[in-house]
Amino acid sequence: MTTRPPDDLDRRLVLATQAGLPLVSRPYDVLAEQLGISPGEVRARLADMLDNGRIRRIGAVPNHYALGYTANGMSVWDVPDERIVELGEAVGRLPGVTHCYERPGPCPTGPTTSLPWSMARTGRAYWPRWKKSPPCSAAPAGRGTCCSRRRF
């Protein structure tokens, strides 16, 4: 499947919706007017951007603290290259994990290859559970390193 390169309309749609979708009955009509195209073209382009992953989703972004998710922790694991996909996908499937990436980096505490990020509503951090769960304990030298305290 070929994917077209990002174009000016993609960029203008990002700018037009950066502050959010208009809170009016016909939001796509408002965007169409701003962009000088038809509402149908706006919707078709948004559908296209959802299909090709340029838009992850259209929806609400809650402030997790306001929803009562008071704890979040970040952990960094040193994972052997040959197991990165297996372990990254396994950690990504654990409940409470909201992000999981491979990040090669000059971590001063050691090589960094995978970085899951979790959130627990109860204040009980998830990362000690990862430590005990089979995928992570199987990772040599795997260790969680960070836990958050507060946000600015």
């Binding site: 990002v14 951007m49 992850r56 929806g59 809650p62 992000h99 980096g105 305290r149």
Partner: protein
Amino acid sequence: MSAVAPVMDALDRRIINALQGGFPLSDTPYQDVAEGLGIDEATLLARLQRLLDTGVLTRFGPMFQIERLGGRFVLAAQAVPEDRFEAVTALVNAFPEVAHNYRRTHRLNMWFVLATETPEGIGDVIRRIETATGLPVFAFPKRREFFVDMRLQA
């Protein structure tokens, strides 16, 4: 209503849960969502506005995968001396490229995400932050994404 802790009722929670994805690309999407929730469109719009005004929602709209549009996000960290923490926080947060900034309990005690419109912009902003703070910035660019889903049950 308290100005400090926004009070949410059951309808607010249902609205937040219903709106975390799959927003319709129809002529009247709010009307369609409202119908699914058994409320009218005006109620939904007013509730959404209030959730945004009180900070329960930080945003409502398309969430862009900025890398697929040519931009870059990079996670970065600094080891900030405790006695300079507040001053460095102010310096770092003054950069418009800083998307989030968290204090974390680790030797690298400040973690932020940098967002730039081009890949080349990242190196530039890192150098400017290092100059402004006098501290090295450790960058952790993403090589692969295994999972990202910030949908949270309200």
